[in-house]
């Protein structure tokens, strides 16, 4: 069975971005996920985000591992190269791709099984290395393709479809990221495009690894009463005290400050992440305070969303290694090969 293609005929005249492209130009194949799947909403947000940023599709590279979430890169930006890799290994492939060609914008789509079980080692080291990419973790607390086993992000007491409660402690990717030295950590909800799109834009602007943990309910295996990753649970327990806008650098001057703007963070490319509201005493630069806040909310049964932590002075893997601004893959062979005279001379050390 091959993936169905979306009809390309627009139903109405669609607005164009700076490149003259419509949002349809940022779409991909038709989703084969279940109707109502949270992941499709994330796909829509990513599509909209790249459209609004007017990013040339060829400048994007999409990567994923294995799982429901990992199918989604086929569903957006068909003009971008994509790599559906192996279970849990996307982080490693993205690291190598970024090493070879830093000129592209990398977006990795993963799930809670892919990222927090089989691939948690790679995700941890991806954060430590601070590879410049957007990492979207579509988190539904369950293994969908293998029909409903708990994942490592399932909360204690959350019930499976058969009613069995989970008894193993969950892994929170944001708390993990805080301890791994991640430089951009956000959480959102697939049902909240208004929050998700600015977060995605800020993640693209961030010079380093930007992790967005998106709670994305599984309508088939984890959207029932007793689940803590259901649409209903999220609507009732999400706390959006931290709200941000993303202002591309070109628009910065024209966009006036709004009342209640708490803090501005200027990103590496000159764009601005504006915190519209943060709780009293909250500092998105303070790892310890951020961790305390997330834990306090969690203890109250609440899920804090928004841009939770950011370090805009982030140094990515290329900066650490002093590589050139152009892609290593584009450096001509003549520059790379030292030639026969050098080879003859360096062998003096072997005599």
């Amino acid at each position: 069975m091959s993936a169905p293609t979306k009809p390309l005929i627009p139903l109405a005249i669609l607005p164009k971005n700076e490149l003259g492209l419509t949002v349809r130009d940022y779409e991909g194949a038709m989703s084969t996920l279940c109707a109502g799947c949270g992941h499709d909403s994330v796909t829509a947000a990513i599509t909209q985000m790249f459209f609004e940023l007017s990013m040339p599709p060829r400048d994007i590279a999409k990567l994923s591992g294995i799982g429901c979430s990992s199918k989604t890169p086929t569903y957006f930006v068909r003009g971008a190269h994509g790599f559906n890799s192996a279970h849990g290994r996307m982080a490693t492939i993205a690291t190598g791709a970024n090493a070879a060609n830093r000129e592209l914008t990398y977006i990795g789509i993963s799930g809670d099984g892919d990222s927090l079980s089989i691939g948690i080692g790679h995700l941890s080291h991806l954060m430590r290395r601070n590879v410049n990419m957007v990492y979207v973790l579509e988190n539904n607390g369950v293994y969908g393709l293998t029909k409903g086993q708990f994942s490592a992000s399932a909360d204690i007491g959350s019930r499976s479809k058969r009613g069995v409660p989970n008894e193993i402690a969950p892994i929170d990717p944001v708390l993990l990221g805080l301890s791994m030295g991640a430089t951009f950590l956000a959480r959102s909800f697939s049902g909240d495009k208004e929050q998700l799109i600015p977060l995605l834009k800020a993640a693209v602007a961030h010079q380093g690894l930007a992790l967005i943990d998106v709670i994305s309910p599984c309508v088939t295996f984890n959207d029932h009463e007793g689940s803590t990753k259901s649409y209903r649970f999220m609507r009732e327990h999400e706390v959006k005290e931290i709200e941000t806008d993303f202002v591309p650098w070109q628009q910065e001057i024209s966009m006036p400050h709004r009342k209640g703007d708490a803090r501005e963070v200027v990103m590496h490319d000159g764009s601005v992440v504006r915190f519209r509201s943060v709780p009293d005493g909250y500092d998105p630069h303070d790892r310890q305070r951020v961790e305390e806040y997330i834990r306090e909310r969690h203890d109250r049964g609440e899920i804090a969303t928004g841009l939770l932590y950011v370090n805009e002075d982030s140094v990515d893997v290329h900066a650490m290694n002093n590589t050139p601004p152009v892609a290593l893959a584009k450096i001509p062979f003549a520059t790379l090969c030292p030639g026969s005279a050098v080879l003859a001379k360096l062998q003096d050390d072997f005599r």
Binding site: G82, T92, G96, A100, L104, N322, P338, L343
Partner: protein, 621 residues
Amino acid sequence: MTTTLPHHDERTHGESRVNDFALKLANVNGTGSASANSLLMQAIFRMGIPVSGKNLFPSNIQGLPTWYEIRVNKSGYTARALDYDLMVAMNSQTYAEDIAEVASGGYVLYDSSWPLEPHLLRDDVTFLGVPLAKMCLENFSSSRERVLMKNIAYAGALVALLDLDLEVIATLLTESYSRNEKLLASNQKALRLGYDYAREHFSCPLEFRVAPMDETAHSILIDGNTAAALGCLYAGATVAGWYPITPATALMDNFTALCAKYRREPVDAAVPGGPDSYRNNYLILQAEDEIAAIGMVLGASWSGARAFTSTSGPGISLMSELLGLAYYTEIPAVIFDVQRTGPSTGMPTRTQQADILLCAYASHGDTKHILLFPANPHECFEFAVASFDLAERFQTPVFVLSDLDIGMNDWVVPELTWDDNFTPDRGRVLDDRDLAEIAEFFRYTNEDADFVTPRTVPGSDEKGAYFIRGSGHDKFGKYTEVPAEYQQVVDRLKLKHAASAQRVPAPVVIRRPGATVGIITLGSCDLAVREAIDDLSERGIEADFLRVRGFPFAPEVRAFVEEHEHCFVVEQNRDGQLRSLISLETEIDINRMHPVLYYGGFPLSARQVVHSVTTTLEVQS
């Protein structure tokens, strides 16, 4: 204990022993013996004499026994000797076994600061006592120097006993310690102590000794890991992912050092000489494990860079998953496997050739890979360069199967050369101009005579964009579960692999008139097998030689087996993996080949090959 040394005329050997002998040095790991031992080896090399040094060391940082073997041979037979004319016994823990290993009529040099226990003595061996510890105690004040300098002192005694060129030794010491005058002075002093003692107390030189030759003028002394790293530098590799593992670590350490020297491009900077004054045209990533290491290589290769990893058997086991992905999605990758003794952790500091089948078929499902088998550091350099061309030409993983003996020991090999007209074979990659000329791009269509289809790299024109996937795909690169569509792709992969047989390094074949025996081997067995063939000839057995250098096999391999009444396959593993692979892949009856297996972890010796071949032939006749 006093030692009396017989005069020259009383000895059993004559002048024929010039430049033909072997010594073994038994040391304690971590006491600084390595520099003294390699000093001796390097001095013999500089005197123009064919020589080899084999480090037989433990998986340990300090305290366990370690040995170093030096074989000097004017005819170039420098495989492991097994017959030791001289033992330098510096480790009292292993005195008994070390003394037992000396050939009858040979010598034991030992530290006579303490007496040897009488039960260790042998009547057929001459004991040369040098009070090394006592000399160093009297002449050096720091406790560290008193330990370290014992090594240089025994080296000094050997200089006298073996007639090594003092000038050459002095130059080597000066080169080694040019930045540390005090250490240089201590080394010179210790060398002299040992030298003078030997001259005073023994009749120097011994009947086996060195004499200058002119056999190494166009050679270098280099280990395989360094040579492979040089090959990667010259092949234009820019990205490497790796995880530390014995015995492959030095390959990446060397690549890192070479890149820091030859891959730094100066740029205009505010502070000249500061950190912004250069750019690194490379990125070496120390991964969290070997899975990540190969993942990084695939990501970088997918993006159009030349990328590689270096590892050993345990790393290949971990990489197997993604190697299948690379095979099926057709991504180039270069993997150096510096083989060590398995299975499991095995013996990390011992050599073997036991990853042949693992690498040939790495990963689940139907997979087959290209393998290259270098026999020495010179081929490590050449095959490193070739491996990137093959990987990109055939869009598939290529393994370079070196081993610990090649990778970590210094070998005398012809100097490396480079053709400045060399252009790398980047394989079939479509750029924007190519894409403009075609109506549509589909990843696995438009195959060439080698069954290779053109690829595109990320960042290329949207027309070339596609979704690479390890799941079932058709020739258009689209997801499929249709049997015929799936098979069409995997059948082409099989043909592509077979086509690479013509492009991997050809086997080396050496024929002898009237030979009825054929000996097939690979990798570091090369020198021992060639020496064995000369030895067999002296015993009236003429044997042809074939050294496999690549997989898939060239047609000559099967023909060679068919041509010989008796065919042997010499390799360093328990199960005869090369023999099995030849049978599996050429469909020749496995019983047409006798296995000659040596797999205890030390490098192969000609004696072992001769013994196996002659024994088998006797049984057969």
